[in-house]
Symmetry: C2
Subunit: 209 residues, 2 copies
DNA sequence: CAAAATAGTACGAACGTTCGTATTTGTCAA
DNA sequence: TTGACAAATACGAACGTTCGTACTATTTTG
């Protein structure tokens, strides 16, 4: 009972630290100190540091789904939902869901080239995200909102790349305009694929603002 | 004399290790072992680990400029040079200039959120790159190859994002199609900005292949 | 030979981990 | 409701290792 509560609070802190210092920089000693508990106390909940890292990745994934992805999935199917997902991501970086920016982007670069369970877990979490993105594009296409020649995998790749770019520019180069640039690029790209429904309802350019 | 040679060979190895294991994972002990020299021997060349990290970043920057950027700058000014830079980057990831993918992408994510000299050096190196990219776009625009409304900073941001995305997808998700996708996206984006010179020389669609 | 470069050795701190023990907690009989 | 007790949870101390770094001695080089 109590154990589960403690475990969760450990993981929350672990995710925050890892998003700032990396999954290796997430140190048992530091984590224990910040939680005001002993190192050995931590080992009652996690058998090893690797266990802790894996649990932290899963916890981060859940946090991301709960706070970013799921709310966006509430939008109407098709183009609106796709845009909602994109906007949710752009907000997510600035909103401080993870204190160090995008947890997964950082973890990806930290563990690519280091085979093992941790790397696989990160890759799997990122896969889920890219697949969700791809699915949103595909649905928008099937809904008739996007050009039927649209390649969902290609568009998902491009969107994801813009997310990475935005995260990078706003974090390291702390360029405040990065999010805006990414938003602009995304809107423009998706607009270029959008079906205008000119048959049923002619496209009328709305007055600016 | 000999010292300088040794220093260079230390740095080459250091850059390779750091590109795989990160700048923190680049450890004095490991580096010494791989070079078959003593830890204290290393300290004759670098006053501290931070010194070593800074020198490794500079060394990586030089390697990147020499092997990737400078060759591409040989292309004719304007659109061709811009495309040459983009292609050089796309090749660079797959070509194994750094064994762990893009040195700077990894370093960026490792050190964002950790203020200090190392972070600043990484940011500065990346700045130079983004500025070079932006300059190439601006030149292409001034040369009349791109739509005069083109915003060089925006395009540089988008291109750089695609580079990040390609590196990520091909490294962590080892998706072999990532480079192709990025290439396609870049070509399409730049094509959309291209001036067709329809006044002086009408645009004639060449036969496919 | 003087100077530059390298090796050897040692240090304190921090790393992940283990162990035996103390404390807290939930359960159930009284 | 309480008391007792086993299980769950947390602790302090210590382990062996590796980290970055300092100091001194020795070899290599110009």
């Amino acid at each position: 009972m109590k154990g589960e509560r403690t475990r969760q609070s450990i993981l929350e802190r672990a995710v925050d630290i890892a998003s700032l210092e990396g999954l290796e920089g997430l140190t048992i000693g530091r984590l224990a100190k910040e939680l005001q508990m002993s190192k050995s106390g931590l080992f009652a909940h996690f058998g090893s540091k690797e266990d802790l890292q894996l649990a932290a990745i899963e916890s981060a994934r859940v946090r991301f789904v709960d706070e970013v992805l799921r709310p966006a999935l509430g939008a109407p199917r098709g183009y609106p939902r796709l845009m909602a997902i994109c906007r949710a991501w752009l907000n997510y970086v600035g909103r401080g869901v993870f204190p160090g920016g995008c947890f997964f982007a950082a973890a990806s670069f930290e563990f690519d080239g280091r085979p093992g369970a941790v790397r696989d877990a990160i890759a799997s979490a990122m896969d889920q995200w890219v697949i969700a993105l791809e699915k949103a594009v595909r649905l928008a296409k099937e809904e008739g909102h996007l050009d039927p020649r649209t390649d969902p995998a290609q568009i998902a790749f491009e969107l994801n790349a813009l997310f990475f770019g935005a995260n990078f520019a706003s974090q390291l180069r702390n360029d405040p305009s990065a999010i805006r640039r990414a938003e602009k690029a995304i809107e423009q790209r998706l607009e270029s694929l959008r079906v205008k429904r000119s048959r049923t309802r002619p496209h009328v350019r709305r007055k600016t603002a």
